[in-house]
């Protein structure tokens, strides 16, 4: 009963949001039709959608999306592995924990893109540097959340686990990880968003090789050829991918884990 009502409000919320977006797009189109702004600066939404479709069916945009996802996947996975190792170290030794916290205080506020000049000097240009920037950008939110998450598991729960005879990896798997899961999920969300920002920003700063650029490179290139509808098409695609991943991955995982375990306020 409660569940059905919840689903209904959920559906209503989605409907409202979809209607709002459609309204905004229509408003955009109307504004462009009035001709108050030069079409070069403010293209019609229909034009943008036509370019989006042309780019997708022509295959160029798909190749760019595939490259972006591949490079973000690579950078993010490396960051997750690094974060897991670092946090494990921090959990095992208070000394390492202090170091990690000091590092985090120093490096977390530094935007990933700020280290780009140094990265170019060390690694040159190209995909390796972009992966490095993505790794750096997503690493600190991941470590921060993992660290806080693991620390926030109540001692009583750990003690209960111990009393039940859980040890080592069993204790981690059954108590610590589920306990820290909401934080881990938040870390992944922030990390994913940061990874996108880093990849697009990095490609816009020094571009990439024409054959292996992602969506950032696509937008960058179209900007220089003054194909503004295509610039918007690239932006819309980034938004769509963000929405899809949020809906299909993060919310689904959240529904199956954190919410089912009754760990959220809702």
């Amino acid at each position: 009963m409660v569940k059905a009502r919840e689903e209904k409000t959920e559906r209503k919320k989605t409907l409202n949001q979809v209607l709002f977006i459609i309204g905004a797009l229509l408003g955009w189109e109307l504004m462009a039709w009035t001709g108050w702004f030069p079409p070069l600066l403010f293209p019609k939404m229909s034009q943008v959608l036509i370019h989006l479709w042309a780019g997708l069916s022509g295959g160029e945009l798909l190749a760019r999306v595939a490259f972006s996802l591949y490079i973000i996947g690579l950078g993010l996975s490396l960051a997750v592995v690094t974060a897991a190792l670092v946090t494990t170290g921090a959990m095992l030794s208070p000394l390492i924990s202090d170091w990690v916290q000091a590092l985090m205080a120093v490096l977390h506020p530094l935007p990933g893109i700020a280290i780009l000049p140094v990265i170019i000097l060390w690694l040159g240009t190209g995909s390796r540097s972009i992966v490095a920037v993505i790794w750096f950008s997503s690493l600190w939110p991941l470590i921060a959340n993992l660290h806080t998450g693991l620390r926030s598991v109540p001692t009583t729960q750990i003690e209960v686990g111990r009393n039940l005879g859980l040890k080592g990896s069993q204790l981690v798997r059954s108590i610590l990880l589920p306990g820290a899961f909401p934080y881990i999920l938040t870390g992944l969300r922030v990390g994913w968003a940061r990874a996108w920002q880093a990849s697009v920003a990095a490609e816009m700063v020094f571009g990439a090789s024409g054959g292996e650029g992602g969506l950032g490179w696509f937008i960058y290139k179209k900007r220089f050829f003054l194909e503004i509808p295509s610039v918007f098409a690239g932006m819309i695609l980034i938004i769509l991918i963000g929405l899809l991943v949020e809906r299909l991955c993060f919310e689904e995982v959240e529904r199956r884990t954190v919410r089912r375990w009754g760990m959220t306020a809702e």
Partner: protein, 334 residues
């Protein structure tokens, strides 16, 4: 009595103060100019330092930009009245419906593709993984590379997958330190610096590709600026011309004046100003050649049918239109 004298004194002072601007010449007309850094823009630096614009009754407002793309966007959005850019970026805007035309030619400089790999002797020696840095897609360097690729490799896009976009200083640093890139398509002073490095050599230069010299940059202004402010427009042309002529006639003094701006010694600056191929000129060169190539290669929809479509009357007057076969000046536009 004393009070009336004081009053009179006050009145004279006030009216005198109001009269002052009229006494010292006509009121200044503001003109917003997009500036960039570097040897190419030396006439702008000279005009600024020697107050040449002020001599023509202009009050220049300088806005500095880091790339040609930014200058173009500033012109489109109306942030500046005039800007300087390569002919290809100008044509891309023209093709997309920007109502602007060429105001003047702006400097001829040598442009070249420099490599740090002794094995690369021609474009054929570039392997798919060899990166070539250009300032940005659609820049004059990118289009020259495409022209060369068409001539030597049979397709204008043959090297498009090799290009990386890098600002000149970063590209020069990457080339010299051999980090990531194999070649750099660049302009002075970076071209000169790179060619002075041991192990770096020229693969191909602009004149070999294009056939003859052409304007590296052109002055560009919106049609509405030309229509609405003809006096400011013509003053601007004259001021730029004076700055160009001053550099050509006073190379030593120009080097001394420009050196601090470039962070070079006056001797080095003089060497660069006198480098083979440098030509501070406002004359139009090669305005049409890029259009035909870019249309054929698909970078723009159509090439301009005549110079009149892309240049203002003062430029058309210089080029002229010879009855019968085209004149020398008309021929060098292609």
């Amino acid at each position: 009595m004393r009070r009336s004298v004081l009053l009179l004194l006050c009145l004279t002072l006030i009216t005198g103060g109001l009269m002052l601007p009229q006494v010292y010449g006509a009121p200044m007309e503001e003109i917003k100019i997009a500036g960039q850094f570097g040897l190419v823009y030396a006439p702008l630096t000279v005009a600024k330092e020697r107050k040449i614009f002020e001599r023509y009754g202009l009050k220049p407002v300088w806005k500095e930009y880091g790339s040609g793309g930014a200058v173009r966007e500033a012109l489109i959005s109306g942030e500046v009245d005039v800007g300087f850019m390569g002919i290809p970026p100008f044509l891309i805007g023209w093709d997309k419906g920007c109502e602007w035309k060429i105001v003047c030619g702006f400097v001829i400089v040598p442009i070249g593709l420099v490599t740090n790999d002794p094995n690369i002797k021609s474009l054929k020696d570039f392997k798919p993984e060899d990166k070539i840095a250009v300032p940005s897609p659609g820049s004059i360097q990118h289009i020259l590379l495409a022209m060369a690729a068409e001539k030597e490799l049979g397709s204008p896009t043959a090297l498009d997958n090799n290009i990386v976009a890098m600002p000149h200083p970063d590209g020069a640093a990457a080339l010299i330190s051999k980090k990531g890139i194999k070649a750099h398509f660049t302009t002075p002073p970076y071209l000169f610096e790179e060619l002075s490095q041991p192990g770096c050599h020229l693969v191909i230069d602009d004149v070999t590709i294009f056939g003859h010299p052409f304007n590296f940059n052109v002055g560009v202004a919106p049609q509405r600026f030309y229509d609405r402010r003809p006096v400011v427009y013509s003053s601007f042309i004259n001021a730029i011309g004076e700055a160009m002529a001053w550099i050509n006639n006073n190379k030593e003094a120009a080097a001394k004046l420009l050196a601090p701006e470039f962070g070079l010694t006056p001797e080095k600056t003089l060497e660069y100003l006198n480098w083979e191929g440098m030509n501070y000129t406002a004359a139009p060169y090669g305005l049409m050649g890029f259009g035909e190539f870019m249309a054929k290669a698909g970078y723009i929809q159509r090439a301009p049918a005549s110079v009149a479509e892309i240049a203002f009357d003062n430029v058309l007057a210089i080029i002229g239109s010879r009855a019968g076969s085209p004149s020398e000046l008309e021929r060098i536009q292609y």
